[in-house]
């Protein structure tokens, strides 16, 4: 699959803060790429450089193999910023028309698309309402339509899940998969690993302005080996953290995910569990993104190439 976007060693400093410190990654056509990291890791700054809002201090961004300084290809991008915002006084249809027009589309071409999208999001009756009259959830939907309306090749979503209720979260997740299946390319940022796991084909993990891990989800997980134990049990699991072969453990009420130390035998762990709790499930698995994230960010900060 062809690269649609390549970020090459970009850096951005604000005062004394190195927000982005030599980030490189590529986004391939027809995939969903997840840009992961904690709040303040440099995700939004990276995205703002891709969208041309900031110019990188150094490094460059390539669109379909051509170097572009800032946002020379902006019309091909649909961008949903983390800071959502619409003109509150405008009617929904006018707002959407404006958003498409500043992406270089003609009003007459866009109007039928507006109606189709409003229908898809069940907002047809809100067409002529003012934005400020809409509920927050509906405003989010309008903004999402505004991101997609001009039929962009690359859709960039900064924390698309933030502020959504569980139902809308599922709707958005489904929508992104549909778009990907239609051949669109999506770059999304999130700090919620579980969400990224459900959506992303490829991940780029950023920490302190640097890429610490990248690759397809399978590659990333595979490189960590099957050294993770998923455990379900009845009883008090507090002791699990103290076991000699366990490096890290996240323990919930009656289940746990254990990361084993290098070369540890899972069989020993099972033996240690059996006298203390009643084991209902014991499974060797690849680690979750959450565990990988903690492992990478908690222990080392050097870039770790997984891709071949």
């Amino acid at each position: 699959m062809a690269e649609i976007l390549a970020v090459r060693d970009v850096r951005k400093t604000f005062g004394d803060v190195r927000a982005v410190d030599g980030v490189s990654f590529t986004v391939r056509r027809g995939t969903i790429t997840g840009l992961l990291g904690r709040n303040g890791a440099g995700k939004t700054t990276t995205i703002r450089m891709i969208t041309g809002i900031f110019l990188p201090d150094s490094g460059d961004i390539q669109w379909l193999g051509d170097k572009v300084g800032g946002g020379g290809y902006r019309d091909h991008i649909g961008y949903l910023p983390e800071e959502r915002g619409l003109y509150k006084q405008m009617k929904v249809v006018e707002m959407l028309l404006f958003l498409a027009e500043i992406k270089g589309r003609r009003g007459s071409d866009i109007r039928p698309r507006i109606d189709r999208w409003l229908e898809r999001f069940e907002l047809t009756d809100k067409r002529d309402a003012k934005v400020e009259e809409l509920s927050k959830g509906n405003q989010q939907k309008v903004q999402l339509i505004g991101t997609l309306l001009h039929d962009p090749d690359l859709i960039i979503l900064d924390e698309p899940q933030s502020g959504l209720d569980p139902v809308n979260m599922v709707i958005v997740r489904q929508l992104l998969h549909d778009l990907r299946n239609e051949g669109k390319t999506i770059l999304l940022s999130t700090h919620m690993m579980a969400e990224a796991e459900k959506m992303a084909d490829e991940i780029v993990l950023i920490h302190s302005g640097q890429v610490v891990l990248k690759g397809t989800l399978d590659e990333v997980r595979g490189s960590f080996g099957k050294n993770t134990v998923h455990l379900e049990f009845d009883g008090d699991g507090a002791f699990l953290r103290e076991l000699p072969n366990v490096a890290r453990a996240s323990i919930l009420n009656s289940s746990a995910e254990l990361s084993l130390t290098e070369g540890a035998d899972p069989q020993r762990v099972l033996e240690a569990c059996m006298p203390r709790v009643r084991v209902r499930r014991f499974e060797l698995a690849t680690p979750s993104l959450e565990q990988i994230f903690i492992a990478k960010v908690g222990t080392e900060t050097l870039s770790h190439e997984v891709t071949q």
Partner: protein, 445 residues
């Protein structure tokens, strides 16, 4: 350019569709007219009839205080209109005075006046209520150091006071001259003041009179030039702050460059301002046409007050003034996070920029004085001052050219700085930047 037009179109349509805009556009001329005409009317009419007691210690001045209605022969209304417009003064007792003349010759004027002064404090509806008591001491006829006194509840009615003084003095002069052997029927002619006509001489030798109206026209057009610049500058600032608080700005700058956004905004709002001014000028034109009809009847040539070139200068200097001020407002909008903060930030700067407005009177009266010339050639103050000068006199062409060039250079410099600050400022929430930080923004952006 195309995207700038999209931004401009949005700004324009959103603004002109607002009810506030429509109401303001239609009502403002009436408000203005009211504000300009009403005080004048009130002054002229003295807020209605005034009942004044004149206590004459000399006992010889009764003739001067006989009420006009009783003595006046019919006056020519055409002549009256001319005088009113061209500032010819009245010498007779104004008709709104009702005079209660008291001959105090040989009486104790101090004691008697106390009773009249009592009546000043009566209720407005009381039949014997007095608005003023004018005391002429007995020695007024001979002693040139005598002071006349005008008593009223407010000591600020200087117009009434001035008129009574003038009437008294004229009568005293007449009597003194007559006493020194001048024939009474010659006195009026000998004392006649000559009126002064203000004649403006153009470079081509063309003469025109009517300075007073010219003054008013310059003042109105000056106000019409400066007020919208400030109103719409303010509007631009609020728009930018609003985009920040509504968080729209990030979507915008991911689609258009800050320069396209800034120029689209500024030009869109400029178009709103021009629309409004066009409406106002049309309304003024209609009123003017009516006025012209009246003026023609009174044999007044309106062309002598307003040269058509004034309107060309108006359009030119309005744009220069607007673009200068709006950049300053745009910077304020870009670096502040709320309307309130922006207002506080802009207030002192605005006071400074309004300097030509406060100096309008002296500039109109002395359009070629060094300070007026300096202001008209200075950046920021130039457009408004130069416009006022062109409308009341004919400044040398090089003054106009230098002023326009300085203004354009100022606008380019301001726009450059504004674009730099705008680029960073619109995305920075939180604390307002300090001056050193601003300088850094200008350098790095």
């Amino acid at each position: 350019m195309n995207k700038m037009f999209v931004v401009m179109k949005r700004e324009y349509l959103q603004a002109v569709r607002k009810k506030v805009f429509i109401i303001m556009t239609l009502l403002f001329p009436f408000l203005m007219a009211g504000l300009m005409i009403l005080p004048g009317l009130m002054m002229a009419k003295g807020m209605g009839k005034k009942r004044i007691a004149v206590l004459d210690g000399t006992g010889q001045l009764q003739q001067a205080f006989i009420n006009r209605e009783e003595t006046e022969e019919a006056v020519d209304p055409k002549q009256e209109a001319r005088k009113a417009i061209e500032g010819g003064g009245r010498r007779r007792l104004p008709s709104q005075f009702t005079i209660e003349y008291v001959n105090e010759a040989g009486k104790d004027i101090d004691k008697d006046s106390a009773a009249y002064m009592q009546r000043l404090t009566r209720d407005k509806e009381a039949p014997d209520k007095l608005e003023g008591v004018f005391v002429i001491p007995a020695k007024a006829m001979d002693d040139t150091k005598t002071t006349l006194s005008y008593y009223s509840r407010a000591a600020t009615d200087f117009i009434t006071q001035e008129r009574l003084g003038r009437i008294t003095n004229r009568e005293l002069q007449r009597i003194r001259l007559a006493a020194n052997g001048v024939q009474p029927d010659l006195v009026e002619n000998l004392l006649q003041d000559l009126s002064v006509d203000a004649v403006q001489l153009s470079r081509t030798g063309e003469k025109k009179t009517g300075g007073e109206l010219n003054f008013i026209v310059a003042f109105i057009l000056g106000a019409l030039l400066i007020i919208p610049s400030f109103i719409y500058g303010q509007e631009t600032m609020r728009g930018i702050v609003q985009e920040k608080t509504d968080r729209v700005v990030e979507v915008l700058v991911s689609s258009v460059t800050p320069m396209e956004l800034l120029s689209g905004k500024i030009l869109g709002i400029a178009a709103v301002g021009l629309t409004q001014i066009t409406v106002w000028l049309t309304m003024m034109g209609l009123a003017g046409a009516y006025g012209a009809a009246v003026a023609t009847m009174a044999d007044i040539n309106l062309r002598q007050f307003v040269r058509p070139s004034v309107f060309a200068y108006f359009a030119l200097f309005f744009l220069l003034a607007y673009l200068t001020y709006v950049c300053v407002y745009a910077i304020a909008g870009a670096i502040c996070n709320s309307d309130k903060e922006a207002q506080q930030f802009i207030a002192p700067i605005m006071m400074l920029m309004m300097a030509p407005w406060f100096l309008m009177m002296p500039i109109i009266m002395n359009p070629d004085a060094p300070f007026a010339v300096a202001f008209s050639l200075a950046p920021v103050f130039g457009p408004i001052t130069m416009f006022v000068r062109t409308s009341v006199t004919e400044p040398p062409l090089w003054h106009i050219l230098v002023s326009v060039a300085v203004s354009i250079a100022t606008i380019v410099a301001f726009a450059w700085v504004t674009a730099k600050i705008f680029r960073i400022g619109i995305l920075s929430y939180g604390k307002r930047p300090t001056l050193p930080e601003l300088m850094k923004w200008i350098r790095v952006a």
